[in-house]
Symmetry: C2
Subunit: 194 residues, 2 copies
DNA sequence: CCACTAACCTAAGAGCTCTAGGTTTCCTGG
DNA sequence: CCAGGAAACCTAGAGCTCTTAGGTTAGTGG
């Protein structure tokens, strides 16, 4: 309404994040965002390189926000409690901000991060969690992959409602985290079997 | 080149699947497909309802093909061997046909399946595999979810090259499947712990 | 050989991304 | 206080996309 509304890179990114949560990440589009901001499409290109850049910004923002939830959630915890807090923080974020979370799945090269420490922090938090299980390489790497795959896969399927059965998702979630915990705990005892 | 090249719904779907594998599922587009087939965009709308329909067809086709790989792979196997054969059949398909596999992740309502038994068969094969671990409900449901989440998550991350560390992915894969096997085997012993 | 079905076309509207270049607002320093 | 420049915002337009409406032409059964 005002002749200048003072848009900036950050403000545009925030608006894109809100748009993502409301209408889905696939609908984060230059023109949709321009409409929402009451501005012409071309005006956004002063703040954002292109569509890809806009989406990456949302993804980086989401990664930062997830790290900001994980860190306090796991503080002072260990073992199963830490694992559950870690994974549930991510899941809670995905529920609260499905569009932002979806942006997280973009493959984004380190040089695209800009100056954000978000993505690196997320990796460090994962490593720190697994350190509690006393795994040496290469087991730690495998464990990180298992954790990421499981949490990522569960949330993604949950968000797209791909789980057909009616059993409470929360119960499945708890059960799966427990299984992960036991897997990490007993990692060394399972070296080779059939 | 010929005045009529005899396109049909199936032929269009196959061409779309090939396009998906070559250029990525995101590039499965009406106009790209028309270009590849040497036909005008509008001509495809006699064979396909719209873009969504085109993509769903690729997804359903992929689900059928995956089931066709799983069934013979697990035939006659049980326990860890069956689990590994099951999961590796899916992973192999995803590597051979990344675009088709990506189409699998579309959320598609049963009424969109058309007359294909593919999606139902895939569910049945999963259930059959888990039956070998002698789990009663609701454990079986949880186990199916864990299996789906893990396999789905690992493959997805692998395809988008999101694994930063250099350790062989194959070794991680074997290790993760082994962990899953033990989880299913010991499911009942892990009922509640901390 | 004729009629019908289905394959394929042209034409066109509407939405999207992105560039080039112009105008207006706002802040800053002299 | 007001000049000047940076930055916010604009118009215009090219080129791609999906999709519909309606017309033309090729193959097939009677």
């Amino acid at each position: 309404m005002s002749p200048r509304m003072g848009l900036t890179g950050e403000r545009v990114t925030m608006a894109a994040a809100e748009l993502a949560d409301e209408d889905g990440f696939a609908n984060v589009t230059v023109s949709a965002l321009a409409r929402r901001l009451g501005v012409k499409d071309a005006s956004l290109y002063s703040h954002v390189r292109n569509l890809r850049d806009l989406r990456v910004r949302v993804g980086v923002l989401a990664t930062e926000e997830i790290s900001d939830r994980i860190a306090p959630a796991v503080a002072g915890l260990s073992g199963h409690r830490a694992l559950a807090a870690f994974a549930t923080a991510i899941r809670g974020y995905a529920r609260d901000h499905p569009g932002r979370y979806a942006a997280t799945q973009l493959r984004v090269e380190p040089e695209e991060w800009g100056d954000s420490p978000g993505p690196r922090r997320a990796g460090e938090l994962t490593l720190a969690l697994l350190r509690g299980y006393d795994l040496e390489e290469p087991d730690a790497t495998d464990a990180v992959r298992l954790l990421r795959s499981t949490v990522y896969g569960f949330i993604d399927i949950e968000l797209t409602e791909g789980f057909a059965h009616p059993r409470e998702l929360d119960a499945s979630w708890e059960r799966i985290l427990l299984a992960l915990h036991h897997t990490f705990t007993d990692w060394k005892n399972h070296e080779s079997t059939d």
